[in-house]
């Protein structure tokens, strides 16, 4: 069984464009659905507020790990057990990495999220059950909305 999530996506835009979309805090916020307080900086904690409809009470927090221009952007973020009263200070973290590679047609983006083996089993189940259904379903609704209202 895999301990990590890995995604590959081909984007028809130059590496420099993707780099901006993932590391400029306003652009990141736009597609990730989070309102960030300020720019990303290596070693710094990034704070913000989730803007996803129905989840606006959730805070975003991540520690920026690496910013190697047009190559690698990574951060760790806490996986809090409770959504209502998150204890980010003591929560285990997972590592998110974005890797960019130039291709003949644009850019290959590889996203990985790892560290799930650090989460206690009972904890994972609770977090999953709390989120189950609503989040994914709403994500799909928004995509539909955007597609119909370009």
């Amino acid at each position: 069984m895999e301990h990590r999530i890995e995604k590959h996506i081909e984007l028809k835009a130059p590496v420099s464009r993707i780099w901006r979309a993932i590391t400029d805090y306003r652009e990141f916020g736009e597609w990730f659905r989070v309102k960030l307080d300020g720019p990303f900086a290596v070693g710094q904690v990034s704070h913000g507020q989730i803007t996803y409809p129905g989840y606006e009470q959730l805070k975003w927090q991540a520690t920026i790990q690496k910013m190697e221009p047009e190559r690698l952007f990574s951060f760790t973020w806490p996986q809090s057990k409770s959504l209502d009263n998150p204890d980010y200070a003591n929560a285990p973290t997972t590592l998110v990495e974005f890797r960019l590679e130039k291709t003949p047609t644009g850019t290959l983006l590889t996203l990985t999220e790892s560290g799930f083996e650090k989460l206690p089993a009972d904890w994972r189940l609770e977090a999953f059950r709390r989120n189950d259904g609503g989040w994914t379903e709403q994500m799909k609704n928004i995509d539909k909305h955007v597609a119909q209202n370009p």
Binding site: M1, I5, P14, F128
Partner: protein, 124 residues
Amino acid sequence: MSRRIPKLSRKRQRAPDSPDAQATIFAALGDGTRLALIIRLAGGQPYSISQLTTGSRLTRQAITKHLRVLERAGIVCCAHSGRESRFKFNPQPMIEVKQYLDHISDQWDESLSRLKSLVENDGG
């Protein structure tokens, strides 16, 4: 002399929130011997420790230790029949972990598709 400390008392000394007690499913699965035990048990039929030791190069003690790790993670459960313990596979925790990762994976798919729209539709 200290080696004579009975196993049970060692188990009881373990704090409930120690890393060891937080047996995670991934940690339980991250070992070749334990995976082999799961494959053997996955047929659904319960096995005794003796049966699981037969044909293995490991000692009964080593097999027992691995079974306890799997038991703490909820992947196998132990039932006593007479003097013997029999171990049975419980697929539920593995199914739930897979569902949890699938769920996070779906979230990334959705986010990345929004990223794709953003970078491909803004005229560069």
